[in-house]
């Protein structure tokens, strides 16, 4: 047993982190917002970095790594709010031609979390998709996104996550069984937890920097105990998210080391809630500036909420965990 990141994993983390810092700085996100939230060039570069083919065996054109590595990569993507259907396209590797190369942008509908009839079907990034996957209790289905009866919603919660309302969802082509659907759902939960971990880290980092620079009453606000304790709680939430997301990645790679269902539910539940809470905490630290459009905290809060609505909400994961208790 060794919980540390291996040398290769540290290199992987540094590589993806410096790519994101250079390619997706905050200004680029603001720019993307004006241009419709999707950058085909960035998508191809992410594909070249191996983001989508990361876990696909090398013989099938992938990188041949595992979930633990994918968690490290997705935490970095989450940290920089990289937009697009990252998790779906990653899950589609090996299942949909072109997903690995970025030639086909794959999105999805999680009908396990929201079965048809339970409310409006709201889909992210639909206008940029080449393929749409639907995860259902009874299998994995593939649809042509352009054939759907859908309308763009003019006011998305997250400026970088455009959404459509799908009026009617046809069955589509069945490309996988119930077991595959459950496996993809579990993997989606863990990768989304990793994105949330990145949000936990980024919100703490930016809020902490701000608290060191911003002065009131003649000194940096980070020196006030009330602020220090708020930031310390954000640190604890970040560490909870990190430990649970890392553990989930490692457990999906080696199920004999634990209980993958519990590990995935724990990570999605806690990293998910902590991302929303840390984003809220960073808005609080920024104070009045935190409530403005130009400052980053609200972007994180909105994206964190988007993540909370897919691959199982808190209640679903708590029920999974309760079921394992008795």
């Amino acid at each position: 047993m060794d919980f540390r990141l291996s040398e290769d994993q540290v290199a992987l983390q540094n590589g993806i982190r410096s790519f994101c810092e250079g390619r997706v700085p905050f200004e680029a996100l603001a720019d993307l917002e004006q241009k419709g939230a999707f950058d085909p060039g960035l998508w191809r570069e992410l594909a070249e970095m191996g983001v989508f083919g990361l876990r696909l065996p090398e013989a099938e054109g992938g990188v041949g790594l595992g979930y633990a590595d994918a968690v490290i990569v997705f935490a970095e993507l989450g940290r920089r709010l990289v937009p697009g259907p990252l998790v779906w396209s990653h899950l589609a590797a090996g299942l949909v031609d072109g997903a690995v190369s970025g030639g086909a942008v794959v999105g999805g509908i999680d009908s396990i979390t929201d079965p048809p009839g339970s409310g409006p079907i709201v889909v992210e990034h639909l206008e940029h998709l080449d393929v749409l996957l639907v995860l259902r209790e009874d299998g994995v289905f593939r649809l042509d996104p352009r054939s759907l009866d859908a309308e763009a919603l003019p006011e998305p919660l997250d400026p970088l996550t455009p959404v459509h309302h799908v009026r009617e969802l046809p069955d589509g082509e069945r490309i996988g069984d119930a077991a595959l659907s459950a496996t993809l759902w579990q993997g989606g939960a863990v990768l989304t937890a990793a994105l949330c971990l990145g949000i936990c880290e980024a919100t703490l980092e930016t809020a902490n920097d701000y608290a060191m620079k911003r002065e009131q009453f003649g000194r940096p606000i980070g020196g006030f105990q009330a602020m220090k304790h708020l930031l310390s709680d954000m640190f604890v939430r970040q560490e909870v998210a990190r430990a649970s997301a890392y553990a989930a990645g490692a457990t999906l790679d080696h199920p004999e080391a634990g209980d993958p269902a519990r590990a995935a539910a724990t990570a999605k539940l806690l990293a998910g809630q902590n991302a929303v809470r840390n984003a809220r905490g960073s808005i609080q630290v920024y104070g009045g500036m935190g409530y403005t459009w130009e400052m980053p905290p609200h972007w994180y809060w909105k994206r964190a909420w988007v993540h909370s609505q897919v691959f199982g909400r808190a209640a679903a994961h708590e029920e999974i965990l309760a079921a394992s208790l008795g």
């Binding site: 020196g223 310390s232 553990a247 008795g326």
Partner: protein, 396 residues
């Protein structure tokens, strides 16, 4: 990042499990909390059994008789002993987790020889004489004085919250040896024999109603200079060595116990009730499911914090986050347990088939966790200032 155990570690687990299955039932029932003589016998004879088979001092160096287990094996040890409901370290706590490790790091050869083997075998009980009525979170403001007189120090002062003072043979005593140097500079670490003349031990009942800790009054107590650990006036640094040992895995077995506690609460929730068991209620299931997720995350956090401490060589700081999270989580879980008991929670003893005793004693204990070993507020200051690098408080 690989959470699988090696075949050797699994073998260690199997052997330990077999041994525990035989020895734990044979060790008998836990004595009543106020029967100190029985508690001493119970805890120390268990320590002796651990020593005889090589399970004592699992993180102590081999040359001092410890097990020197690898980190994975230490974690397995905590998992298995908690699962088997083996006796807790109990009255051996201070010796095994504070005093012994401090002597190993800072003691003279004579001090090590005199105490280490006896602590490890359960022959010697220690207590902690750090806090004073005026020196709690601000420990370095302590005022107990030690004045050099020939080959002795003459000690006068008042210690409080001294756990196990009634049964201890020795005390790790912090004193001020230089009254002119304020705060951290003038402190020394002494070994106080608890049978010294001039000692008065006054039990201090806790909110549980028993006397797990005491006040200790010292009046002209003579302690040989040879009992000084580390250099004179260097006690603050020695203390931090002690505290470093306390962090890390000190709470590991309690975390596993808390997992078992949640499993017990599930059983309470399933008891029949007029409107159906509480377990049929989604809110109850969600609360318990959530608690179990947090405990899994806590265990992963402990592993991660220890693994990274080994990597960076800077132990301790990550432990503040683990301790803070654990202690507050334990309180939340205990309060939920009391909620499940309903009106049975008004009795400290079991009533109507509800395990009030188990839930309430855990709940009482949970109230101490956010205070002992550095309050939650102090932990938040440590995280803020030493991990996040925020400006330090003004201190005097």
């Amino acid at each position: 990042m690989d959470l699988r155990h090696s075949p050797e570690d699994e073998k260690f687990r199997d052997e330990l499990r077999v041994w525990l299955e035989r020895e734990v039932p044979a060790h008998g029932e836990t004595p009543p909390i106020d029967d100190w003589d029985a508690r001493r016998v119970y805890d120390t004879s268990w320590q002796k059994k651990l020593f005889d088979v090589g399970y004592a001092g699992i993180n102590w160096p081999k040359e001092y008789g410890g097990g020197d287990l690898s980190l994975p094996q230490q974690l397995i040890y905590y998992e298995e002993t908690a699962r088997a409901q083996a006796p807790y370290v109990g009255v051996n706590f201070v010796g095994m987790l504070h005093g012994g490790p401090t002597l190993i790091a800072e003691g003279t050869d004579a001090q090590k020889e005199a105490h280490i083997p006896r602590i490890l075998r359960g022959d010697e009980i220690w207590c902690q004489g750090f806090s004073e009525p005026g020196a709690g979170s601000d420990l370095a403001s302590l005022r107990t004085t030690a004045i050099r007189d020939g080959d002795d120090y003459v000690v006068n002062g008042h210690k409080i919250w001294t756990s196990f003072a009634q049964v201890a043979d020795y005390c790790e005593l912090l004193v001020r040896t230089d009254p002119d140097t304020p705060k951290h500079g003038g402190i020394s670490w002494l070994i106080l024999p608890m049978d010294a003349a001039g000692l008065e031990i006054r039990p201090l009942p806790t909110l549980q109603g028993e006397s797990d800790f005491s006040e200790v009054f010292l009046t002209d107590v003579r302690i040989p200079v040879s009992n000084l650990v580390g250099a004179e006036n260097d006690g603050w640094r020695v203390t931090n060595v002690t505290l470093r040992f306390e962090r890390g895995t000190a709470f590991a077995s309690e975390m596993i116990n808390l997992q078992q506690f949640v499993a017990a609460l599930v059983e309470v929730a399933k008891l029949p009730a007029p409107g159906g068991p509480a377990w049929d209620d989604m809110e109850t299931r969600r609360a318990l499911g959530h608690a179990s997720a947090e405990l899994d995350a806590l265990w992963a956090m402990l592993k991660l914090s220890i693994a990274e401490a080994i990597e960076t060589g800077v132990p301790g700081l990550g432990g503040s986050a683990v301790k803070l999270y654990y202690s507050e989580l334990c309180q939340r879980i205990c309060e939920f347990g009391m909620e499940l008991l309903g009106r049975a929670s008004l009795s400290r003893g079991d009533v109507g088939g509800r395990p009030s005793q188990k839930v309430l004693s855990k709940a009482f204990q949970s109230l101490s966790l956010t205070i002992a070993a550095g309050t939650s507020q102090i932990q938040r200051n440590i995280i803020g200032e030493r991990i996040l690098g925020l400006p330090k408080e003004v201190r005097r």
